[in-house]
Amino acid sequence: MQPTIRLQRDDFDASAEAALLTRGRTDIGAVVTFTGVCRGDESGELIAALTLEHYPGMAEAEIARHIEEARARWPLLGVTVIHRYGRIAPGENIVLVIAASSHRQAAFAAAEFLMDYLKTRAPFWKQVEGKAGTTWVTAKDDDDAAAARWRKPAADEAAE
């Protein structure tokens, strides 16, 4: 399985990307497609746009490392991650994660795992344009907690 990883300024077409992943294959039984979209508010304040800065080279490498980790945990048959950078207006796409597997459990879990790690470990930073000028978005504890739950040892999960 060769994952697709792209960082780009331009928009993406989620359904076209999902179709690419399954084209000509009969072993895939589940495709989970997650699209992150720019909201028109941040912490209750209306925003005009987001600007995403990233660390070229490291962002791709970090996403590739997390896809490898996901493949070690679940039997994946295809993965696509596309993350945009630059200026993004409310209603526009930001990020796409597609996970394909024979069965739904692996596809759901891998897509969620990849998103949780993208939020906390992939080197991207959001800046919002609002009434008070431009400000950097602060990292959320909720996102750290979401990523941390995947670190739970397998033994603990079995005991629950």
């Binding site: 660390y55 490291m58 970090e62 990020v95 470990r121 080197p123 991207f124 800046q127 950097w136 990292a139």
Partner: protein, 83 residues
Amino acid sequence: MKLVYFAWVRERVGKAEEEIDLPASVRTVSDLIGWLGGRGDEYAYAFEHAKSIRVAVDKRHAKPDAAIAGAREIAFFPPMTGG
């Protein structure tokens, strides 16, 4: 050694990257943050909350006690907010 800065760390330092020769006493990531903080007002401002700074050594996340000997590129940035 090349140092690169992102997001508000870049804005506070006032540059995106620089080449630098480090004294031999600077051995770890946290040594480097401390040393940079003493290079002038803009660096003191950028690194005033050392715990808020994340570091990557050669494009991999690194902990404060990580050694930096032999590194080509060290990056400093706030906690990530992508996705």
